[in-house]
Symmetry: C2
């Protein structure tokens, strides 16, 4: 910071009370500096597309250049303390990770590549004075860095109590290549990335059974991490969009039963999936008795796995990679023409699957 | 709604308890229908640019087309109950108006034209069950309609208590024409649209003096409306950007003293303004004694007038319209080279003006 600038900030700091370690201006300025440093490291890394950002944090609004032949993809995800997370069980670093991860997952589910993010954050005075926000932004920037996402704006407000976060992510995709929920056709095959049920098991462990569960600490940590530190399937999503492979796609945030129902409803189709093919998290399978969980139920109805569910035309099957990095995609069933009817085959039984995933208001 | 669709929604409604008038799906679907109706009426109105929206509400993310030669401008504004507004004094319709207005004001302050909006809304169960959200969105859509802004996404969450809103607006501007806070140069003239201090007087009336103030009801309503129903200067902002007239711009949300300080700091300049030229709201001037307000202080330090403060090179003065519609722009002083020094001339006195506007954390 140059001397003149320092003087201005010190001048401003004088207005702060002794109890308040920094003013809003200082805080926003520190985030702006962090965003600038990240930007510089992206732009100097080889093989990265030059950023189209023109004006980031520090003005009334952020500005980036539009490029003909591309579409912009935008999502916002609101996280509220004691509804979507608990501070007692969520370290701020992981909350910063998760806030960005859920929005990156939405961008991936459109077949797009994430570019920019805005964060609106509300915190009570006590949290403002703690190290919470520094750690929160550390977790955010660590994930942003991996996918070359730039923080370009947002808002900061006080709340009477409770932390709230609105995470906004902007991505892009070649014009007309966005993958909606509405494109699945009868005969398409249904795939899911990674495996399911781990986030639900992790949440159960966190919420009420972590002391009682007769399970080793490392296994607990792995499952809890599925809930607290979800990995958005950024590469899978962008690949499926770029290659035009997926006919429809959604991310598994509410749960497979609910999200498959959304996809079928928007596509005006039905689906038939096979219980034996659903890739249940092996830890959940292995520990089902000890955790008192039905692994198939956890995989079908547990939310927040943030895997991608997509459909693909049979002629494109051969072009579909088996995995990207360590993350496989698994065939679980087919799209049918029986609108909104979702059938689950379990051995010889065929039952109708009703959505039982998460809703805020029901 | 077709019969098959109705069946699906009724099926879903069965999951709702008797106390809950509608599910999250029904709600989001109703907003989606409203957005579609607004979209149709925009697209059929003559002289409107065709919308570049490809996919709006109802998928993982919204998608719109990028156009070469334009820049995208984005802002987010977080409003928290009991910090930024009180439900007891803010009817939901006006809150819907204000949530959008503050973001439109940011877009205008960049010289851009608003195109799309996302709304993230968190409400407690009791509010969800009331008519609050319907009225809130009515106020939002009424303002959106005036400026042909389309609602394309957002999020809905439950909160333990208190309403919160994150209003996100996306605009566009010809490539390179966005007006930042950083472009003011010594010798530029400083202008402000409309008049100042009314929102502050309106807030005072609302907060503690409305019964005691010996002022007529219509005057109270006009001042209170300046606070509760701000008019974003959309046409002024877009004109200044399109014509390349403003060298720097900011909207008056924190207060003239603070916002002029922001503009000067980013531009690395100072300013000298004349108290006699500041366009104080005539109602505030007229009722100063009765309201126990210093009208100049209200104009300098009262926030939320949402007028535009901009600078202009002397050679461009003749191109500047005196007013747009009924809203004038008033010359109040000049930019100087004394970095971060803001001087206020009051008669023969010249005093340093320190920022005293609103901060969430100080």
């Amino acid at each position: 910071m140059r001397d003149e600038e320092r003087e201005v900030f010190e001048n401003r700091a004088r207005r702060s009370s002794k109890n308040s370690p920094r003013s809003e201006f200082d805080f926003i300025n520190s985030i702006r500096q962090k965003a600038l440093r990240h930007r510089e490291s992206f732009n100097s890394s080889p093989g990265t597309r030059r950023s189209s950002l023109l004006h980031g944090i520090g003005d009334d609004a952020a500005v980036f250049e539009q490029r003909g032949g591309f579409d912009t993809v935008m999502t916002a995800d609101l996280l509220v303390e004691d509804v979507d997370f608990r501070l007692s069980t969520t370290p701020p670093r992981l909350l910063g990770h998760k806030a960005l991860a859920v929005s990156l997952s939405d961008i991936a589910a459109m077949g797009a590549r994430p570019r920019f993010a805005l964060l609106s954050v509300g915190v009570p005075r006590s949290v403002w004075r703690s190290g919470f926000l520094d750690e929160f932004y550390e977790g955010f920037f660590a994930l942003a860095h991996r996918y070359h996402v730039e923080l370009i704006g947002g808002d900061v407000s006080r709340t009477p109590e409770r932390v709230l976060i609105d995470s906004i992510v902007i991505g892009d995709v070649s014009h007309g290549s966005a993958v909606t929920r509405a494109g699945a056709r009868p005969g398409d095959h249904i795939f899911v990335t990674g495996n399911l049920g781990g986030a639900h098991a992790g949440l159960s462990l966190l919420e009420n059974e972590i002391r009682r569960a007769p399970v080793g600490r490392r296994i607990i940590e792995r499952l809890v991490s599925r809930h607290r530190r979800p990995e958005p399937r950024v590469s899978w999503g962008a690949m499926l969009g770029e290659e035009g492979l997926a006919t429809a796609m959604i991310d598994l945030s509410d749960g497979l039963s609910s999200d498959l129902a959304h996809l079928c409803h928007e596509s005006k189709v039905g689906a038939r999936i096979d219980a034996a093919r659903i890739p249940v998290d092996p830890l959940v399978e292995h520990l089902a008795d000890k955790l008192r969980l039905n692994p198939l139920e956890a995989a079908l109805n547990g939310g927040e796995d943030f895997e991608l569910l997509f459909t693909i035309h049979p002629r494109d099957l051969q072009r579909l990679p088996k995995r990207i990095g360590t993350v496989p995609a698994t065939y679980i069933g087919d799209i049918t023409d029986e609108r909104d009817l979702i059938l689950l085959r379990q051995g010889r039984r065929l039952r109708q699957l009703n959505p039982r995933g998460f809703m805020h208001f029901s």
